[in-house]
């Protein structure tokens, strides 16, 4: 990918943060921390790598994405809206009664959402089922699953991992949002399970570790997964929870808390300042 495209995607990622923050401000609730750690990943997937068509959200040969950490709607919905699956204005309906833009990912009311998720540990199995179905039907599409590093404490994740490797689902790409922070504290404090790389490798995955905020590294990892035959891939994306907002970065307190008006203003100011800098680089 050339540097111009990289900086374009970086700008899109920043716009996703701004849209997400506006959405939470309007809703007065939502999960910011674990959405902002995903911004570059979402931009690279939906604006560069995934084979999708916003005009045909149910196109049967499209690539799929299961947001297994289903609370990351503050990343998912702005991405889908900006990509053209539904009007950006609809984000104002987030978490409101009758708006059907649910707090956790919702497939039946939101175009572009491939699976309803929210109960941690379950989405990954669904992604595995989609990848298995693609193999059964001799379809070429890929299936992406985004997992949280707190989420992988759920046993079902490892049931799914065991199956995916045994079934040689090389059309499956899991991306671990390795931001090292969960609801109650850091992952190390809550349930220190050590580095995920060895565990997934032990289960038979192709493991790629990257900087999850580097567009180039994300894109390269997705390409590398495509040429790995016979094994599912997991991309361990080192990220920062709350990335872009200085007072939120790396803080479990900002997993699901709504900022005060003053802090919203501060967060917007920081994000917009970063955007201006990115724009200057992009030229």
């Amino acid at each position: 990918m050339d540097s111009e495209r990289t900086s374009e995607l970086q700008l899109i990622a920043q716009d996703l943060r701004i849209l997400g923050l506006e959405m939470v401000r309007e809703a007065k609730s939502g999960h910011i921390g674990g959405a902002f750690s995903l911004s570059e990943i979402m931009a690279t997937l939906y604006f560069e790598k995934m084979n999708i068509d916003p005009g045909r959200p149910d196109w049967e040969d499209r690539d799929r994405l299961v947001m297994s950490k289903g609370h990351a709607t503050v990343a998912l919905y702005p991405t889908l809206a900006k990509r053209g699956f539904f009007p950006i204005d609809r984000l104002k309906q987030f978490r409101k009664i009758g708006g059907h833009l649910s707090g956790h990912a919702e497939m039946n009311y939101v175009a572009g959402v491939d699976m309803s998720t929210g109960s941690l540990g379950q989405g990954f199995s669904v992604a595995v089922g989609m990848a298995l179905g693609a193999k059964m039907a001799h379809k070429k599409f890929r299936v992406f699953a985004i997992l949280g590093d707190g989420e992988i404490q759920e046993g079902q994740i490892w049931e799914a991992a065991m199956f995916a490797a045994a079934a040689s689902l090389d059309n499956l790409v899991a991306i671990l949002d390795y931001n090292k922070v969960q609801l109650d504290g850091t992952v190390a404090e809550v349930q220190n399970s050590g580095p995920p790389q060895d565990k997934f490798a032990g289960f038979g995955f192709n493991v790629i570790t990257i900087d999850g905020h580097s567009i180039q590294e994300i894109a390269d990892a997705i390409d590398a997964a495509a040429i790995c035959i016979g094994k599912p891939t997991i991309i361990i994306a080192n990220t920062v929870k709350g990335k872009g907002v200085s007072f939120m970065e790396g803080k479990s307190a900002w997993h699901g808390k709504t900022p005060s008006d003053e802090l919203f203003d501060l967060a917007f100011a920081e994000l917009k300042e970063q955007r201006t800098k990115l724009e200057a680089i992009h030229g």
């Binding site: 109960s119 379950q122 990954f124 989609m130 799914a160 199956f163």
Partner: protein, 315 residues
Amino acid sequence: MAEKIATRHAYGQALAELGAQTSIVALDADVSTCTMSCDFGKQYPGRFVNVGIAEANMVGIAAGLSTLGYIPFVHSFAMFTAGRCFEQIRNTLAYPNLNVKVVGTHAGLSVGEDGATHQCLEDIGIMRTIPGMTIVHPCDGNETRAAVKAIAEYKGPCYLRLGRAALEIVTDKKGYEFRLGKAVLMKEGKDVTIIAVGMLVQAALKAAATLEKEGISVRVLNMHTIKPLDTEAVVTAAKETGVLVTAEEHNIIGGLGSAVAEAVTSSPYPVAVYRVGSQDTFGQSGNADALMEFYGLTDSFLSEVVRTAVNNKAK
């Protein structure tokens, strides 16, 4: 002696027959030779998935397959599908309204010797609380075949409850028709109605024959679909016979008895409902027949309850 076949054996054959449709896939969690999904697996190995002992993952994989247009049937013992996977079924199948069929075999006390850990007496109650869930519990091999076809044609999540014991065929009579959500009138009667499900349908018919000789006219309804409940048949029975007795191989809390009681108490005919079933207890190891006797799930026990019901009604 009428033909006897365990519903799970009839099930295995029916699913294998259904396999001619290429959209049907079957998943099992290492008990395929018990649930009889192996019949399908032998014929259609490319559409049969043994996930190992990982039921939660099985439900999720089925959900994923269903989003591609497949119609997955997932199998394990009732304890491990409806029981263990309640939340997966609730959030990953039912909430998104995915077209997955959950099969729970070895339901109830008649599992026998394996004992309480495997005797699921709560599954109907668990599944019944999930919005949009269809629950079917056939009473014999013939009805099982009909039920499998019906739930495959129906679009949406279903729970199919099957037993382990071999059961006499009672639904091969002329005029029998299986329709989802529609109770089958097995026998007409005017003094009392037994509403039964699963293997208690046979017990109900036996009890009715005995009571008939004593001058008690018993209507028998086979409520093979517990959800959506055939409220019309229940309320009509309440109106016309004045008292109801429910019979099921399930806890009296949450199952058919509860469903029927809920229906009549909010109808213009809030008659008494006597509930035969497991009286809020766990089971234990033992021969299936001995367990049915011990926990009061026989035709003679049912007859006794019906006598009491009719007697109290007269007062």
